[in-house]
Structure formats: structure tokens, C-alpha cells
Amino acid sequence: MSARRRLSLGERLVIAAPYLWIGAFFLAPMALIAKISVSQSVLARPPYRPIFELSDSLADIWAKAQTFTLDSYRALVSDTLYLESYLSSLTIAAVSTLITLVIAYPFALAMARAPERLRPILIGLAAAPFWTSFLIRVYAWIALLKDEGLINNALMALGLITAPLQMFATTGAVVVGIVYSYLPFMLLPLYAALERQDPSLREAAGDLGASPAQAFLRVTLPLSREGVIAGALLVFIPAVGEFVIPDLLGGSETLMIGRTLWNDFFSNHDWPAASAAAIVLVAVLMIPLLLWERARLADEDDAG
């Protein structure tokens, strides 16, 4: 097959619909916010200065290009709200991912080593919450975490605490919400990686004198690396841009970039600032993906 080929008429007809859709409703909007992010903020509706119009001549375009400004990006760096939102999003997402991994690993291992006939049922039960409403699962935690909620009531009834613990509307509650909501995303790739492992490898390690702990650390864990990385990315990436969980479970001091963006867009109407922040967020998320892709390619080179 040639390196680059032209599509036949029939093939073009097939690809046209998805291509046009993505072009009109994904690429064009993304290009538009990239453009707005370098526009000047004005008090109008839409609240930015339009840059190009179809009737523009080349000279007009050049003249307007002179008005491009990096003010919005400069503001991102100097405005501590955005900087803190990014850093706090990354920290909260990283901590949550780590906790999810620590909870999910033994869980997935127990499923992968369960009797074979039970495994489809177990994995079905683990995946089922994924099909239920995300919003409702986050909402369920409000009733548990509130000051007059079930956990505080239970602890007080047992006499372990005398005053309710402040759990709701804290950053800790956001971490709990992320861990709970994204647990199935971590479980499934871990289970897939662990279930595929040949049990005779562990037996061989045992025959050669390794304790179960050593066999786990030196055989099982390294062999499940791909599942760990896939699961971690599936939790970390959506968690960074999460809006619903910090908004419902977090307090006013819980800064996350998705929430800051939302507020800037709807409440402050600063579209250039929100657009610039969105573009930076996309760039930030692309970095772990590119690193992963590079690691995967390097692995393939090793294997080949």
C-alpha cells in the first residue's frame, strides 16, 4: 500500500459525514476559542472583539492581526486564582488517582484470582456502576458526608465523636467523590492485566524460593504495569478537568480548574480569559498522554 493515497468517490462519501461533523462541531469551535483567547475582552455580547469576518480583505486581516494580544495568557500567569486552580487540580487528581490505585489493586487481584466461573459475575458487578448516573452517585455522598449525615450520626451514636466532623464541603470530600466515581475505570484495566497473567509464573517464582510477597513484588506487580498505567490515566485525566464533583462536594476553598472555568464563563463573562485557560488545560492534559504514547512506542521497539 502506498504511503499516502487518494480516496475513491465511494470512500469520500463514507468519510464525509463524520469529517464534516467533527470539522463543524469540534475543530471549528476549538479554533474559535483559540482565536478568542488572543482577542481583547470587551463589555458586549459576545464579550470579545470579533477578529475576522468573511468580507475582510487581506489588508483588513493584517490590520486586525495587529490587535492580537497575549493579555489573557499573561493574566493566567499573574492571576493567582488560575495558577492555584491548575496546581490544586493536578494535586487533587494525583492524590485521588493514587488512592484509587491502592484500593483497586487488591480488589482487582481478588477478582482475577477468584474461581473462573465467578469472574464474569464479579466483573459485571464492578462495571455496573459505570452505567448508572454519575451525578446521582456523587449526590449519594452528600447524604453520607453532611454534618447531620449518616456517617457523622453513626460515629456519634457509637460515642466515637461528640461533635460532627466537618467532612462535607471540603477538599477531602472531593477526593472521596473522585475515588468513588472513577473506581470502575481503574478496576477494569487492572483486572484485565492481572487476569491474563499466567499463574505458572508465580508458581515458578515460588518453586525458586520466593516468598508470596517477593513473588508479588517481582512478578505480579511488574507484569501488571500496563494495567496500572492505563487505569491511572483513565482516572487522572478526567479528574483534572472535573466540574461536578468539586462543585457538589467541595467547599468554596476547593479550587479546581473545571469549576474556575465554569464560573469565569457563566458568572464573570470573561470569555478571552476562560478560553485561554481552556487552551492551557488542553495542553496540560496532552503532556501525560504524549509521554504515555512515547513509552508505549519505546516498549514496542524493545519487543521488536
Binding site: F26, I142, V244
Partner: protein, 277 residues
């Protein structure tokens, strides 16, 4: 295997599933609580469900959500099928890299960013927001999922069958419709259900893309939830959870019966004893 390890595994499974399911079960139980308070059990009651039926706003937004989910899942599955065909059949065509990247990008894009970009675009081109823009938003959100689901099935199947059909005189289109399509039918169903559930559940894209008169159910639930826990929201949540539970149960039953027909269950049961030891 030592008994201690096996008990540790059972305990892990127990604790894990309790963590996954307890909040949902508690929510369902609370929806039958006659008392408004979370911490007080005021006796069994279905009055919150009765109140739902009189809540016109909630019923209307449930209809909007359902209509948007049906429409957007249909469009999204069709577009996903066409995109998956393009990515598996057309070789290394020009702009394949751009197409591949653009199809997959929404998978990792925060919903807030996609919603913001769509709303900006609608405003810039003077498009009035309502049901149609809501559907556009949901198709754009779910298309990457349908494409990936169908793409995996198209890659996994054996191309020889289709080639055989063409050797026997079928046109490429005829061979695709008669041979490949039935082979990937389960993946198409999964893709549709995935798009349907994602659309039904979405809050963020809907908040950006929809307009007055087309408020979705998650948007209503969200605006109620911000004010605190409400028994009516417990009731509607329980209904939605029950709906999903029934659907998943049916799906499990169908696949179990199909597997039994194919004899898979018999062989896996026959193999189980040496594995359980």
C-alpha cells in the same frame, strides 16, 4: 492456596463491593423514608414518588432528556460506524492523522472545555440554543466513544469472510452489509447504549449547549441538589438506578443464555473444579 489468603481475598471483595454499592443502596432506602431528614427514619412511604408525578417541570425535563438521548445516540452511532469504517478500510489516506486525532480528542478533553467551545461557536454564528444544539453537543461528546467501540470490533474480526463473499460475486458494499455488519452488530448495540447513557447522564455539555425550554433532567437534578438533599431527588434517582439495574440484568440474562446455547458455560463449569482447588 492457604486458607488465610483465601479469606483475605473474600474480605477484600466484600469490602470493595460494599464501598461501590452502599451509597447507592442507602440512597434508594432513603427515597422510601417518610421523614425529610436524612438521619431520621419516619417510616416507610411512597409519597415522594407520588409527588414526582405531579412535578410538571421534572416530567418535562425527563422527556427532553429521553428525546435527546434517543436522537443523539442514533446520529452518534451512525457517524461512529462511518468513522470506524474510514479508519479501518481506507489505508493511510491523506489527512488520516488529523481525522484520527480529531475523532479521539474528545475522549480526553474536559467536558467544560468542549461545552465552552460549542457555546462560543453557537453564539458567534448566531445560532439560537435549544433542543437541536443540545443534540449537536451530545453527538459531539459521544461520537468518540461510539467510534472507539465499533473500531475495536472491526479490527478484531476475520476479514477472510468478507473477501470470500466478494470472491463469490458480492459487491464491496453488499459484502459489508451482509457479512461484516452482522459480525459487528453486538459492538454497534454497545456503542448505541453507551451513547444513550452518556447523553442521559450529561450535565456539563447540556448546560452549555441547551437553551430555554430544553432543560434536561440532570440539569434539574443539579439545580435541586445544590440546595441540598431532597426526598424527591432521592426518588427520581432511585427510579433511574432501577431502570439501569433492570436493563443490565436483562443484558446479563441474554448473554448468559446465548453463552449457554453456545456451550461456553458448560465448558467453563467443567473447567472450574481444577481452578477452584
Amino acid at each position: 492456596m492457604s486458607a488465610v489468603v483465601s479469606w483475605a481475598r473474600r474480605a477484600t471483595l466484600f469490602v470493595g463491593f460494599v464501598f461501590l454499592y452502599a451509597p447507592i443502596v442507602i440512597l434508594a432506602v432513603m427515597s422510601f423514608n417518610a421523614s425529610r431528614l436524612v438521619s431520621v427514619w419516619g417510616g416507610f412511604s411512597t409519597k415522594w414518588y407520588a409527588a414526582l408525578l405531579e412535578n410538571e417541570q421534572l416530567l418535562h425535563s425527563a422527556k427532553v432528556s429521553l428525546a435527546a438521548a434517543l436522537t443523539s445516540a442514533t446520529i452518534s452511532t451512525l457517524l461512529g460506524l462511518l468513522a470506524a469504517i474510514s479508519l479501518t478500510r481506507f489505508g493511510r489516506f491523506r489527512t488520516r492523522f488529523l481525522f484520527f486525532g480529531a475523532v479521539h480528542a474528545p475522549l480526553v478533553l474536559p467536558e467544560v472545555v468542549l461545552g465552552l467551545a460549542l457555546l462560543t461557536c453557537f453564539v458567534a454564528f448566531g445560532v439560537g440554543r435549544g433542543f437541536i444544539t443540545l443534540v449537536i453537543g451530545h453527538v459531539t461528546l459521544t461520537m468518540c466513544f461510539t467510534t472507539v467501540a465499533i473500531l475495536a470490533a472491526l479490527r478484531d474480526r476475520d476479514p477472510a469472510l468478507e473477501e470470500a463473499a466478494m470472491d463469490l460475486g458480492a459487491t464491496p458494499l453488499g459484502a459489508f452489509v451482509r457479512v461484516a455488519l452482522p459480525q459487528i452488530a453486538p459492538a454497534i448495540v454497545t456503542a448505541y447504549l453507551l451513547a444513550f447513557t452518556l447523553s442521559l447522564d450529561d450535565l456539563v455539555i447540556a448546560s452549555f449547549a441547551t437553551g430555554p425550554g430544553a432543560t434536561t433532567l440532570p440539569m434539574r437534578i443539579y439545580s435541586q441538589v445544590r440546595l441540598g438533599v431532597s426526598p424527591q431527588i432521592n426518588a427520581i434517582s432511585t427510579l433511574l438506578l432501577a431502570l439501569v439495574a433492570v436493563a443490565l440484568g436483562l443484558a446479563a440474562l441474554v448473554s448468559f443464555r446465548r453463552a449457554r446455547r453456545d456451550g461456553q458455560v458448560v465448558t467453563s463449569l467443567a473447567r472450574a473444579p481444577d481452578n477452584a482447588s
